[in-house]
């Protein structure tokens, strides 16, 4: 293939915008996420032609059409498989996978699980709006119990999937959460996802104005955010609150909220260590939810050192090739041929 590359240092957001009309509902959280990704990509030092955006089906999965990169809008739930194929075929590409809570966790959770365990170096953004947007408002696997939707007129009965616990259960090496309301945090998180070698799983709280409006407002709206969101920063104690006066301490294995002062100091608090190989810590964070706890955002877990699938595969091939020639004629002839004279 071609070896010219675009000059990555001069890329700007504009380079990633397509002329196509963006066709989400006015006010949809997807716009903010698109914006964040378009701001992130030019800053990564990667030429534009190296990006491939792969998605499934859903409102969120229209994403590739709006990114001026290589893109593939595939079928419902199967984006992880296509993304895997792209990455295995060409490990040099920067592959971004976009999925929704229905696409990624209802029909497609198996592929996601296998992607995560295989640890291909792919960035997965799961737009969680806790609803099926594109099909007009049925409950999704992340909808809370009792959710009344078109398909559950008296409330849903299934216990929802916690995407972070799911990713941890799949032993993902990078597990994070961010929200469509916080541009800066999104960009930071996406950059960290790209920087991580291995599959990066990022849950993005995304608002669906039409079918599930304000579902995250109890957590992320401007007025409650300070008290309801716990921003995770590596090696920093777990502190939150408008006055930065609340923290999370462990009592045995159970987290509890404490107020700083009155004999409780920063030293008593949990220190955020996403690189802890033991997943119990991330598991505790992932279980913390509204209204009992502030909702953690940021990188819950980041495990370096597990080889990526594609690297291991390439290595096996290189090793095999270092051994001997790839003579096709020899292969066809095999070890047990015989000659018939003319």
């Amino acid at each position: 293939m071609s070896i010219t590359t675009t000059d990555e240092s001069s890329l700007t957001k504009k380079d990633f915008v397509t002329p196509n009309d963006v066709r989400w509902c006015p006010g949809c959280g997807d716009y903010a996420i698109l914006n964040a990704v378009q701001r992130t990509l030019p800053e990564l030092g990667i030429p534009r032609e190296q990006f491939v955006v792969v998605s499934g089906i859903g409102c969120s999965s229209r994403f590739p059409y709006y990114m001026n990169t290589y893109g593939f809008h595939t079928i419902h739930g199967r984006a992880p498989t296509v993304a895997t194929g792209v990455k295995v075929a060409n490990p040099d590409l920067s592959v971004w996978m976009i999925t929704g809570d229905g696409d990624g966790l209802s029909i497609g959770a198996n592929h996601l699980l296998h992607l995560l365990r295989r640890n291909l170096d792919i960035n997965v953004l799961l737009f969680n709006n806790r609803i099926y947007g594109l099909t007009k408002g049925q409950y999704s696997p992340t909808s809370e119990v009792g959710k009344k939707t078109k398909s559950t007129p008296v409330g849903s009965v299934d216990h929802p999937i916690n995407p972070l616990l799911f990713a941890l259960g799949s032993e993902a090496t990078f597990v994070a959460r961010t929200t469509d309301t916080d541009m800066k945090h999104m960009v930071e998180t996406f950059k960290a996802a790209q920087a991580h070698k291995g599959t990066s799983f990022v849950e993005v709280f995304q608002n669906c104005v039409i079918f599930n409006n304000k579902t995250f407002d109890t957590v992320t709206s401007r007025d409650v955010k300070q008290d309801q969101v716990l921003v995770l920063e590596e090696d920093k104690p777990l502190i939150f609150g408008a006055n930065k006066d609340k923290g999370i301490r462990l009592n045995g294995l159970d987290p509890e909220i404490v107020t700083l002062g009155d004999g409780v100091g920063q030293d008593d608090l949990l220190i955020h260590q996403p690189r802890n190989p033991n997943s119990a810590y991330a598991n505790i964070l992932a279980q913390m939810t509204y209204p009992t706890f502030p909702t953690p955002v940021g990188i819950l877990r980041q495990l370096d050192g597990r080889e990526t699938y594609e690297d291991a595969l390439v290595q096996q091939i290189e090793h095999a090739q270092s051994g001997g020639s790839d003579n096709l004629q020899e292969l066809l002839t095999g070890q047990n041929s015989w000659v018939v004279e003319g």
């Binding site: 293939m1 071609s2 010219t4 675009t6 397509t18 196509n20 030429p47 534009r48 032609e49 190296q50 491939v52 792969v54 089906i57 059409y65 990114m67 001026n68 290589y70 893109g71 593939f72 809008h73 595939t74 079928i75 199967r78 992880p80 498989t81 296509v82 993304a83 895997t84 194929g85 792209v86 295995v88 075929a89 060409n90 040099d92 590409l93 198996n110 592929h111 296998h114 595969l313 096996q316 091939i317 090793h319 090739q321 051994g323 001997g324 020639s325 790839d326 096709l328 004629q329 292969l331 066809l332 002839t333 095999g334 047990n336 041929s337 015989w338 000659v339 018939v340 004279e341 003319g342």
Partner: protein
């Protein structure tokens, strides 16, 4: 009845069947006998036949595993209708196979295993070997294989239980004697396989093989021996090859011929697993092999890699094909090259997973929703899998389309000698790559092939998006009614136009006459043999075998019109028949069989005769 002599009797061909418990190594001895016969210069065809269970309870009918082969001094097209000689390692093997052995056939039994327990497990009320009528009916050779093997290995350091396991090679050695087969290839096999790791085992097997052979020489009752002369074949280098092996090699060759990297992605399933396994051993050819979590994923991985520029392939069988339909639709509308192999087995559902059938043809054509035509082709013999793989790749890459390649369990597991092609003689495969010199318009088509051009991620300036929603020529999502119709017709025309590149159909027999037999896939050998025999008997019968099932060849209609009657024998309830009737409005006769077994030459002979008289 057969002449008893210890010198050789010249015969044209022979059919030998080995049968025993799943653990008895029948597949191994069958394979060895095949190699030895190939080495002897005969033509061969084989039919392995094993149960769905890995190792059903020893001694039961469910656990019987068999291997039949035919070898001869001229073109051998099938593994034979019925064995001339049957080796039965235990009562269950005898019971399961004896009905196929004609009167007077040679029957070698391991008498040591004919004990009451085993007889009972096999469902025998009494020992058939004690029945006088039975004994008279066949040319019976009773060997105490267990005892003889132990005796031969008196000196061996192997454990007693391991010694007994060598008894299949005793039987093999004896059969080598009967049919005058060379021992060398098998001795070499022992050496290659165990010589280094388990020299004692290699040694023991060699001894037992030779002991079996020697027994023939020294047995009190002299036995008839047969000799089959070399088959006169084109000069060149030959090897034995199975269908799945040939498929693997064909794919590797296709990658080289198209200058693409090969990515194979699969999920284990009988009888397609050997393709995954075979390719995963070829890492030094740079082949990327992915064992996916299921067949949907396998297809998705292949499609992603295809988008990224590799030549990509999935192989599976019926249940896996079901799971791929949705992705096949996406591959079709995005017009990406991809080869999907279906190694057919008995259906519907889990069906008869270790038996052969050709019943997935209509599925290959119509499994997707929407009007979604695709090229479909089928391999007709083990070695033909090689050519079909290359042909499938040619169509996929030149026409930018997924292609379905049908094989079947009989073709995949069967083996035959193969004239190894010269790599430099193989045809180059054209790709349809986008040029970086002009603006990239995704669905702009090559005038001749109607193929779109492909831009590979990583190429500057060719960034673009594809997907499953209908698109306009420029690749933008389009809900425009006329556009959808136009794109649908273009996709259909593209596929239909592939027939322009086909070779003329090869007719076996006269170009016109009373009866035309049309076959496809693994029935090639049986149909060709039966038709040839009838021609030899003076009947006006010709036969053609279709490689391309969609589009059908352009000259097919005209050929059909030159015959009074047309018959389509197939291992299903009339699938190609339906296509031919619909397309050509000809009252094609359907002859279906659905028994998990290939056609016998004799069945076809009889059936064809019905329409010739």
């Amino acid at each position: 009845m057969t002449q008893t002599t210890d010198s050789f009797e010249e015969i044209d061909s022979a059919v030998v069947r080995f049968a025993g418990d799943s653990g008895d190594g029948m597949q191994t001895v069958g394979e060895r006998f095949t190699d030895s016969s190939a080495f002897a210069g005969n033509d061969i065809a084989t039919l392995p036949d094993f149960p769905a269970e890995i190792r059903a309870p020893a001694g039961t009918l469910a656990g019987v595993s068999g291997f039949q082969l035919q070898f001869g001094n001229s073109k051998i097209l099938t593994p034979g209708d019925a064995p001339d000689a049957l080796v039965a390692m235990n009562p269950a093997a005898l019971k399961a196979n004896i009905d196929d052995l004609p009167e007077g056939g040679m029957l070698v039994v391991n008498i040591d295993s004919f004990k009451s327990m085993n007889l009972k497990k096999a469902g025998y009320e009494s020992n058939p070997l004690e029945d006088e009528d039975f004994r008279k009916k066949y040319h019976l050779v009773e060997l105490d294989l267990t005892g003889l093997t132990k005796e031969a290995l008196k000196e061996s350091p192997l454990k007693p239980s391991d010694k007994v396991r060598c008894k299949n090679f005793f039987a093999l050695g004896f059969m080598y004697y009967v049919y005058g087969r060379p021992l060398e290839p098998t001795l070499k096999f022992f050496e290659d396989k165990w010589g280094k790791r388990l020299p004692d085992l290699a040694q023991a097997n060699s001894q037992v093989l030779k002991a079996g052979h020697n027994l023939g020489d020294t047995m009190e009752t002299a036995r008839n021996r047969y000799q089959v002369a070399k088959a006169p074949v084109e000069a060149g280098v030959y090897r034995k090859i199975s269908g799945n092996e040939a498929l693997v090699y064909g794919l590797v060759a296709a990658a080289k011929l198209s200058k693409r990297e090969l990515l194979y992605s699969g999920y284990p399933i009988t009888p397609a697993s050997p393709v995954l396994e075979g390719l995963s051993h070829l890492k030094k050819f740079g082949i990327k092999c992915v064992q996916a979590e299921d067949e949907i994923a396998a297809m998705g991985v292949a499609l992603g890699a295809s988008f990224a520029g590799d030549l990509t392939v999935c192989a599976t069988s019926g249940p896996g094909m079901c799971l791929k339909s949705e992705f096949i639709g996406l591959a079709s509308i995005t017009e990406l090259p991809l080869i999907i192999c279906n190694v057919q087995r008995g259906g519907p559902s889990t069906g008869l997973p270790t038996k052969t059938e050709q019943s997935d043809l209509l599925q290959a054509l119509f499994s997707r929703h929407g009007d979604c035509p695709l090229p479909v082709l089928a391999a007709h013999s083990p070695s033909d899998c090689f050519d079909c793989a290359i042909e499938a790749a040619r169509i996929a890459l030149t026409y930018m389309t997924p292609v379905i390649l049908l094989s079947d369990l009989y073709v995949a597991n069967g083996a035959e000698p193969w004239l190894v092609p010269n790599v430099s003689d193989l045809p180059v495969i054209e790709n349809s790559f986008a040029s970086t010199d002009e603006e990239y318009v995704i669905y702009k088509r090559n005038k001749e092939t109607l193929a779109r051009s492909q831009a590979i991620p990583g190429q500057v300036g060719l960034e673009h998006r594809i997907g499953g929603l209908e698109k306009g020529e420029d690749g933008g999502v389009s809900y425009d009614p006329e556009n959808h119709e136009e794109m649908s017709l273009l996709r259909a025309q593209k596929v239909a136009g592939i027939s322009k590149t086909f070779d003329p159909i090869h007719i076996q027999g006269e170009a016109e006459g009373d009866l035309l037999v049309i076959g496809w896939g693994g029935t090639y050998g049986a149909i060709s043999s039966a038709a040839r025999n009838l021609r030899d008997e003076g009947f006006s019968i010709s036969n053609i075998h279709l490689r391309h099932l969609n589009p059908l060849p352009d000259d097919l209609e005209e050929i059909m019109s030159r015959f009074k009657k047309v018959i389509v024998p197939e291992l299903n309830l009339g699938q190609l028949n339906l296509l031919l009737r619909a397309k050509y409005l000809v009252d094609v006769i359907s002859y279906g069989k659905l028994q998990g077994k290939p056609f016998k030459v004799s069945e076809l002979h009889e059936k064809f005769l019905e329409y010739l008289r």
